[in-house]
């Protein structure tokens, strides 16, 4: 098998024919896709930032003791299942560990660990989503109920959408791993979803602390 490192591509000397580009020079040790996903995640973090901004505006607009506000439909304060969300937090943090295990397993060429890690991560992520759907069904208010409901569903929903996307990418990676793709040296296709998944995890901790705890 030939090496596929970009600096060693076999057409690097085909000058002047116009059919092949000259060998590209890379001025940074960072691989472009890795740098790309970090910039993309910076952008994503700002998207979360705009949703958080709406949440904090709604929150600081009322005096401290009136948050959470009264739900006009029930006459009681809004309540969030803090303990259930804590379990969900633990699940997601665990899944970050398992996806890291999957990537390091591949780097040591331990393919069973790769597949087991990805399977566990996907299952944990799926569990997180199912628990969250269950939470939505039993929580007793909807996105239409006051700014509290809107911002709660807005933030957890935006995060849930990211979990769903992360799960989709992870299952593609799992499927490719089972087909024998990726190698200890070349696995950008695995690293990208893993980095994305860590981001989803970190974002959840911020959402959990800001929305459920504080």
């Amino acid at each position: 098998m030939t090496s596929v490192a970009p600096t060693e591509s076999d057409h690097g000397h085909a000058h002047g024919h116009g059919d092949h580009p000259p060998e590209q020079y890379y001025s940074s040790k960072v691989e472009p896709p890795i740098l790309g996903i970090y910039l993309f995640l910076a952008s994503e973090a700002m998207l979360f930032g705009s949703f958080f901004a709406a949440y904090f505006f709604a929150r600081v607009a009322v005096p401290h003791e009136f948050w959470p506000p009264i739900n006009p439909k029930t006459g009681h304060q809004f309540e969030l299942p803090v303990f259930l969300a804590l379990i969900n937090t633990i699940i997601l943090v665990t899944s970050s560990v398992t996806v890291h295990w999957a990537v390091t397993s591949l780097k040591r060429n331990y393919r069973a660990g790769l597949i087991a890690g990805l399977t566990l991560t996907s299952l944990l992520g799926l569990t997180f989503l199912l628990i969250q759907i269950r939470e939505y069904m039993r929580i007793g208010f909807s996105p239409r109920d006051e700014a509290f409901g809107s911002t709660f569903y807005g933030l957890t929903g935006l995060h849930g959408a990211h979990v769903f996307m992360g799960l989709t990418f992870l299952s593609f990676a799992l499927w490719r791993s089972m087909k024998g793709h990726y190698s200890p040296k070349h696995h950008v296709g695995l690293e990208l979803p893993a980095i994305y998944w860590h981001f989803v995890d970190v974002m959840w901790i911020v959402v959990y602390v800001m929305v459920y705890v504080v």
Binding site: G18, P21, P22, E23, F40, A53, A147
Partner: protein, 656 residues
């Protein structure tokens, strides 16, 4: 698992391959292209409609046919279907599912006929041209709307268009000019020249680049389609403030969704620029040897990546308030209505710099070349861009001095706003110092550059007025603001765009534009622009409110002057379009370096060959060493030749 199979797929990630791909034997409906795109778009339309109405009937929601929900679904799903049909996603779908990706034969590179510009192309030069043509289309459309606005305002009373249509025209005019012209035109120019300027063969992610381009016209068409909806075009202004926006007819959704597509395009391009500039600079091209246009695009891209999600967020929340009846900005439901303005301006103030910084870069290139002098204070020029980047995030609430925000925010925002005058002033004085005792050649790009400096200073000065709380409270929402923004965005950004287009026209097309027509275009625009907008300062300070179709007859005279100026301004654009089209077809062939510039794009043929270089160049010095004996910026083709005068072998057009 064998490692051998593990390798095979990864091949696709790198550009390996020799033979051109076999001709696609699939029929038109299966082959990536316009026919499949229209079919997939139509299928997506049907699926979205069925999905929404089906879910609504299952959920017993009344009415089943709810236009705002359907519009949301259509504007998301139909473009996705269309793009899939066009083949924008094909490679990624193969890659992510682990199917063997076609070895890249670079058939997506280069353009041999005009038809290639209507296909998905991964060549940064083709994408640059695609961008430019698309955005100038929207420039003309937005300009025609401005003609309608000025025709209505020529006399007091309402004669030509009714007030609702007037509001629609002002809103769509601003939206198109900002999101479909000034922001993306720099992506187009940057796409063409930045990779060459830093000595790269292409952008870092050519396929993402193609996707970025194709999302742009989609956003523009969605915005334009709002004219076709009941109630007419959205008319809450390009700022689309809640709660006005949520109370508008459903066409307001077209602003919200159109901006999402244009914003996504802008983020993807910015990310691409950043990665390209960080990882793909030629050997020797340190950050302190980069042309200032690269610095400008670098800082702009950082702004785009970090700020644009905020307008995406603001429009998502607005869309939820309308479609899902949430309470993000509904006071009755405990929402904080001014929150919309905070989130919106947290993007839209940095957006002002997104629309200016690349222009600053263009002006630095042009001034230095045509004054035959090194740019004055190169490092400070670069650092002032970075200073504007940071300060730009700290001034957003100066748009809201009279909006009912927390009063204590006013003074800090005023101070940061006025502070921006420092890095901007550094730039202006450095440009003037660059001109000082230079051997100035007043070619068309230089005229635009000098015109830019004078107009931008006027816009900057009225900006200092508006940044000061007491004056802003008087002048807010008057024609003074209209005059200010046009001095900054037309006399500022658009002048830099014209400078850039004339400057790189020979490089892009391989032909010279007509210098006489170029100068006529400049002088006519320059005079007509000032006739149109200068008097608006006065009527504004006297209290003429903006965004209203009718006005007090005391302002009649100056408005007539303004309208006449605007028609001449519109006509001057025709000279430009004529010059561009005719010169592109039959202008005299351009030498590789007509301006005797030092930056890399001028050291290769006009137009550049398919992959820009035969060999990656070696950078040996700064980019602006004009008049410095023996100074060199770049060595092409190894150490074999040191030729700059001898023209490169022409590789115009087809090179198969």
């Amino acid at each position: 698992m064998s490692d051998a199979t593990a390798h095979t797929v990864e091949h696709g990630e790198h550009e390996v391959g020799h033979a051109p791909a076999p001709p696609d034997r699939r029929n038109l409906l299966q082959r990536p292209g316009w026919v499949r795109a229209v079919m997939y778009g139509a299928i997506s339309f049907g699926l979205a409609t069925a999905f929404v109405t089906g879910l609504r009937s299952l959920g017993d929601l009344d009415p089943i046919w709810e236009l705002d929900v359907l519009l949301t679904a259509w504007t998301v799903v139909v473009p996705l279907g269309f793009l899939t049909g066009l083949g924008v996603f094909s490679y990624w779908i193969y890659w992510v599912t682990g199917k063997p990706t076609l070895p890249d034969d670079h058939s997506g590179h280069g353009a041999d006929s005009w038809k290639d510009y209507f296909k998905v192309n991964t060549d940064h030069k083709v994408i640059g041209v695609q961008y430019l043509i698309t955005v100038f289309f929207f420039f003309v459309v937005g300009g025609l709307m401005a003609m309608f606005i000025r025709a209505e305002l020529a006399e007091p009373g309402t004669q030509l268009i009714d007030p609702n249509a007037f509001n629609g025209f002002t809103s769509v005019h601003a939206t198109l000019m900002i999101f479909l012209f000034v922001v993306p035109v720099f992506a187009g120019l940057g796409n063409y020249v930045i990779p060459i300027m830093i000595g790269a063969t292409d952008m870092a992610f050519p396929r993402l680049n193609a996707l970025s381009f194709w999302m742009l016209p989609i956003g523009g068409l969605i915005i334009l389609s709002s004219f076709l909806l009941p109630g007419g075009a959205f008319s809450a202004g390009w700022t689309n403030y809640a709660p006005l926006a949520t109370q508008q007819p459903d066409s307001n959704l077209m602003f919200q969704m159109g901006v999402q597509w244009a914003g996504a395009s802008s983020i993807a391009t910015a990310l691409n620029f950043l990665v390209t500039i960080i990882t793909m600079r030629a050997p020797g091209m340190t950050f302190w040897r980069m042309p200032l246009l690269c610095w400008a695009n670098f800082t702009t891209s950082l702004l785009v990546v970090l700020a644009t999600p905020f307008i995406a967020g603001s429009q998502f929340l607005l869309m939820f308030d309308r479609v899902l009846h949430t309470n993000f900005f509904e006071v009755a439901g405990g929402g904080y209505v001014v929150g919309y303005q905070h989130i919106f301006w947290f993007y839209s103030h940095p957006a002002v710099y997104i629309m200016l910084l690349p222009g600053f870069g263009i002006i630095s290139e042009v001034l230095s070349v045509f004054a035959r002098k090194p740019i004055f204070g190169y490092r400070l020029m670069a650092l002032s861009l970075v200073a504007i980047l940071f300060l730009g995030f700290s001034v957003w609430a100066h748009h809201m001095f009279v909006a009912g925000m927390a009063p204590w925010l006013r003074i800090p925002m005023m101070i940061t706003t006025l502070l921006i005058a420092v890095p901007t002033g550094i730039k202006v004085f450095s440009w003037l110092a660059t001109l000082w005792e230079g051997k100035i050649h007043f070619k068309t790009p230089m005229l635009w550059a000098v015109g830019f400096i004078s107009m931008f200073v006027i816009g900057g000065l009225s900006g200092i007025f508006l940044g000061s709380v007491p004056i802003d409270q008087h002048a807010s929402d008057t024609y003074f603001v209209v005059a200010h923004i046009h001095y900054v965005l037309y006399g500022g950004s658009v002048f830099t765009i014209f400078a850039g287009v004339y400057y790189w026209f020979p490089k892009m097309t391989g032909r010279m534009y007509n210098e006489t027509l170029g100068k006529a275009h400049f002088w006519l625009t320059f005079i007509a622009f000032n006739v149109t907008f200068f008097a608006q300062h006065w009527v504004g300070l006297q209290g003429m409110p903006r965004r209203v179709a009718d006005y007090d007859p005391v302002f009649a005279d100056w408005n007539m002057v303004s309208s006449i100026g605007s028609f001449v301004l519109g006509a001057s654009t025709l000279i430009f379009l004529y010059n561009m089209l005719v010169s592109w077809r039959s202008g005299e062939p351009a030498p590789s370096n007509p301006w005797r510039a030092l930056t890399i794009e001028w050291q290769i043929s006009s137009p550049p060959s398919k992959f820009n270089f035969d060999e990656i160049p070696q950078v040996v010095g700064g980019p602006y060493e004009y008049g410095v004996p023996g100074a060199r910026h770049v060595v092409l083709n190894g150490s074999r030749t040191v030729e700059t005068e001898k023209p490169e072998p022409a590789t115009v057009g087809a090179e198969h």
